[in-house]
Symmetry: C2
Subunit: 116 residues, 2 copies
DNA sequence: TACTATACTTAGCAATACTAAATGCCTAGC
DNA sequence: GCTAGGCATTTAGTATTGCTAAGTATAGTA
């Protein structure tokens, strides 16, 4: 990212979206990166150094749980994350807060329109 | 604020809204705090320690300019901030980025709806 | 062999909102 | 006159989170 402003807008949002994705379906780091990129029209192209710390935080908070998955016929493995009950609750809570928040900001701009 | 998540959502947004308010009309710190509170349905209740650093940053970047105003018949004065041309340009740029950004996030949630 | 894709880890930096406290002027009530 | 509270600004220190950048390792392919 080259724009400092947009970088700040992402604070909190990226973690919210990662949690949401895992709630929809158990997933793992590398896959989440491609999903986020695709589902955001290339807007959220996370590097590993951004995504993995998010996963560790979510796990520390008990919102997701990890388990190692041996891939068929290989020794390399993936760390599959699944949402916990607390994670699903928190995902809904954050979605609601995001909606209220973004509507407040939108309304703020609209209030300024009918000025003379 | 007691909620860490919502605190993060504000990153970047508060500065954007302060710049927008000053673009609409020259103002000063103490007044901006009450305006922000009122125009956001009590959602953005900034403490001084949050607002004043925002003003100093905007001034450092040349987006707003300050001038001391003697109040009539008093010695105490207010620091009036006015938007510069660069500030007006930047305000429009940020509003556009915010709109695109929030629409991307909204679309992200809607994409998840028509699943089974 | 070398390159690419997959997959995870970690150290250190930058930006911004928060708490908390301090300063000073002015007005109103006692 | 004195005190409490509203107006108005300043600043020190903390926490959170996204970023860059580098490193580790396996598997497939040219």
């Amino acid at each position: 990212m080259e724009d400092r402003f947009e970088q700040q807008l992402k604070k909190g949002v990226l973690e919210m979206l990662v949690l949401e994705l895992i709630c929809r379906q158990p997933s793992y780091g590398y896959k989440l990166i491609t999903q986020l990129k695709q589902m955001s029209q290339e807007r959220f192209q996370l590097k590993e150094g951004t995504l993995y710390p998010i996963l560790y935080r979510l796990e520390d908070e008990g919102l997701i749980a990890a388990s190692w998955s041996q891939r068929e016929g290989r020794t390399a493995s993936k760390k599959i994350y699944t949402a916990t009950d607390a994670g699903r609750l928190e995902a809904r809570r954050r979605q609601q807060i995001w909606q209220d928040f973004s509507q407040t900001v939108t309304a703020f701009y609209q209030e300024g329109e009918h000025h003379d």
